[in-house]
């Protein structure tokens, strides 16, 4: 019976996932990250918590877009009142802007470090601490061994980690559960109103363990993620409205 065989396989896969250290529950409650249809790509259709996610971004503009996307997810993780750590070498995040992504900026502790080695150490220590909602680390590159250390740390504590590659010249294989690339897209306003619209991104899931990679277009509007069906590209002359 092919139907029952498929059922058995699905059942087995569900049992295997927790054994592989896959968690989607934070402090006993499931967290809705508001990513909508992206959830289809994840195993169990839930955003994987207690894992390390890797983001590649080249340039300050992409870093800002990636930061915005992470902040949107972070807001969901911190909704229960948790604190987060943001570790970076040169802090450029402007705390008041995080408020528009639904985060209380005073709940984030910023750690500014010079050496890559110190960042990795601080990241590992922070990921071991199960009192945190999430840890974000900005670094230039990460070796496979280092990423495996981080993965081992989160499997113990259940903290979610985000790594931002500020300069991914050579992207290595890593033990992280996923790899993302966020690129800013031109914003659009309804009815051809002048001015700059809501932040829009091209979200590309390059790699996901036990899941299906994909590409989505999203917008951060009114405090939540929103999927955009298609990109309409009007002519530049029409778009140019200055206020």
């Amino acid at each position: 019976m092919p139907a029952s065989k498929a059922d058995i396989i699905a059942q087995l896969q569900k049992e295997i996932l927790p054994l592989q250290g896959f968690k989607s529950i934070l402090n006993g409650t499931a967290v809705d990250t508001g990513l909508g249809s992206i959830h289809e790509a994840f195993p169990n259709t839930r955003f994987p918590l207690g894992a390390v996610h890797e983001f590649c971004c080249a340039g300050a503009e992409a870093a800002a877009a990636t930061g915005g996307f992470i902040a949107g997810i972070l807001a969901a993780l911190m909704r229960t009142g948790g604190a987060a750590l943001w570790i970076s070498s040169s802090r450029t995040i402007f705390p008041p802007a995080l408020k528009s992504f639904g985060i209380e900026p005073d709940k984030i502790v910023f750690v500014d470090l010079q050496k890559e080695k110190d960042i990795l150490w601080a990241m590992e220590e922070a990921l071991k601490c199960d009192g945190l909602a999430a840890v974000v680390g900005e670094m230039r590159e990460i070796s496979f061994t280092a990423s495996r250390r981080l993965q081992l740390a989160v499997e113990q504590s259940g903290v979610t980690g985000f790594i931002l590659h500020r300069n991914p010249r050579n992207v290595n294989t890593s033990a992280c559960i996923s790899r993302w690339q966020i690129i800013p897209l031109p914003s659009e306003l309804a009815d051809d109103l002048p001015g700059v619209g809501f932040p829009r991104w091209n979200v590309e899931l390059l790699k996901i363990r036990n899941g299906k990679p994909g590409v989505w277009q999203m917008e951060w509007a009114a405090g939540r993620f929103r999927h955009i069906s298609r990109i309409t590209s009007a002519s530049p002359e029409q778009q140019k409205k200055a206020g």
């Binding site: 503009e61 502790v109 009192g131």
Partner: protein
């Protein structure tokens, strides 16, 4: 039980202390001096200087004319009280109740203590010889009342012991100043020819009270034992300090770790019993060659968890050099605060900033990378972007302003705005093109301007007109023009941030 008191008089308290610290001064006359009305006044002179006529209250210039080779040292205010407190703490070995009697005395309530030394004579001799051995010139006496003992110390025989009830007889032949009276009362007594206690002790109390006031009668009664006198004993500082002497010098890292572990367990157990936690601690290793190796830690929240404290020390343990070996370890908690066990239970599961695990993590991070690298930001009531946030002084600092989202702010803000070249069509319009780091950006959409004025009470300079712009690839920037468009004044465009 009838009380017994010992009073000690340090005749040259400050100068003895100076000689202890600088033994070379032992053979020479010197004075301590402090500035007063634009000149230096002698506040204390040592025995040699006093012997040659230098007195307290004399100008230093005058003293120099008497002794040309006089050394003059600066006097610290409050030095004598500080020294007396230290000596009082030392005297707790003789009796639990020791009080200081400024400017240069100590009062010991030795009721029921002297027999431990065999006799009262042995007790008093021990005090005098030991203090003399320390380098202080002292006189001491024992009596039933503080007043009588004080009088015998200053005016009676050296090391006098007055038998029970014998204070009246002992006081008779002493001068009236022995009763701890104020200067003007002593002068009045002198004028009336009442030079010794026996001259007025038989007079009617009402007459004495009328002439010299109630305080005089009180002092007299206190000296004679008819009125009780209370003292305020010094409280010994409870020191949170543990020591671990080693039979053999320790040279290995494992050995040091074991020593630290043991000391921490003893100290933390004690702190837990007393419901306290430490904020700073220092771990010292006394080396065989006489050097002291030490490491210190600090915590954000008072803690008595030995595992957490061990982790903090562990980060620094490798900086200890045992060399030939360490023979004594000392762990000292320098700053100790109350910690309530109920609160700790509450915070153990909290995941926010109050969480005990977060503060433990911060301690570990601060221990290795320094506390100045860890920041938490709170809003500040300024519009100027650089000043709109400030670093919180502690992890528990509350917000006194709200985070505002009514104006767009970039997620990435450059710490210093970078100058850009722009092409702008007409004044006060957003630019059409700008060049940043050699790359040309063509602006498709723009919002603005948002004018932010300088806060003139903090800083002088030009205002900024901010524009949010988006280029043809969808990158969003925060640009500003510093100052107005004007021919006679300079203006410049800058890039200040990147929107998400």
């Amino acid at each position: 039980m009838p009380k017994r008191f010992v009073t000690i008089w340090f005749r040259h308290l400050e100068t003895d202390w100076v000689i202890l610290r600088r033994p070379l001064l032992h053979q020479q006359p010197f004075v301590l001096a402090a500035p007063d009305h634009g000149r230096m006044l002698v506040t204390k002179a040592n025995a040699l200087a006093q012997g040659r006529g230098v007195e307290t209250g004399m100008a230093v210039a005058d003293a120099r004319t008497i002794i040309s080779s006089l050394s003059v040292l600066n006097d610290k205010p409050g030095l004598s009280t500080q020294l007396l407190k230290g000596l009082a703490a030392w005297c707790i070995r003789y009796t639990p109740a020791v009080a200081i009697d400024p400017p240069e005395g100590l009062i010991l309530d030795c009721t029921g203590c002297a027999h431990l030394w065999g006799s009262e004579r042995a007790y008093l001799t021990d005090i005098i010889t030991r203090l003399n051995g320390l380098g202080y010139h002292v006189r001491a006496a024992m009596a039933d009342t503080i007043g009588a003992a004080w009088a015998m110390t200053r005016f009676g025989d050296d090391a006098a012991i007055i038998e029970r009830g014998g204070q009246t007889a002992a006081l008779l032949s002493l001068p009236s100043a022995a009763l701890r009276l104020e200067t003007d009362i002593i002068e009045r007594l002198q004028k009336l020819g009442l030079r010794q206690v026996k001259d007025f002790i038989g007079m009617p109390r009402t007459a004495l009270r009328r002439r010299f006031g109630q305080p005089f009668i009180q002092k007299l009664d206190q000296a004679l034992g008819q009125e009780e006198e209370l003292i305020q004993p010094v409280e010994p500082v409870a020191s949170y300090r543990e020591r671990l002497p080693c039979l053999e010098p320790i040279v290995t890292a494992t050995g040091i770790e074991i020593a630290l572990q043991r000391l921490l367990e003893t100290l933390c157990h004690r702190l837990e019993q007393e419901q306290k936690g430490l904020r700073t601690a220092i771990f010292k290793g006394f080396r065989v060659d006489g050097r002291i190796e030490k490491i210190g830690i600090g915590t954000n929240r008072a803690s008595h968890s030995s595992t957490h404290l061990f982790k903090l020390f562990e980060l620094k343990l490798n900086s200890i050099e045992p060399a030939l070996g360490i023979e004594l370890f000392i762990l000292e908690a320098q700053k100790v605060e109350d910690v309530s066990p109920v609160q700790e239970k509450l915070w153990a599961n909290a995941s926010g900033l109050d969480g005990i695990r977060l503060s433990e993590l911060m301690d570990r991070l601060a221990g290795r990378i320094g506390a100045d690298r860890i920041h938490r930001y709170i809003p500040d009531e300024h519009y100027w972007p650089e000043r709109s946030v400030k670093a919180a002084s502690s992890i528990h600092e509350k917000l006194n302003a709200r985070w505002s989202i009514d104006r767009p702010r970039p997620l990435q803000l450059l710490s210093k705005p970078e100058p850009i070249d722009v092409t702008a069509p007409i004044p006060d319009y957003p630019p059409m093109l700008f060049r940043h780091k050699g790359k040309l950006h063509k602006i498709m959409k723009a919002d603005g301007p948002e004018r932010i004025e300088q806060e003139w009470w903090l800083q002088q300079g030009q205002h900024r007109d901010y524009y949010c712009v988006e280029d043809e690839t969808g990158h969003r920037y925060w640009l500003f023009r510093s100052g107005h468009y004007a021919a006679d004044r300079s203006y410049q465009w800058f890039i200040h941030g990147f929107f998400a």
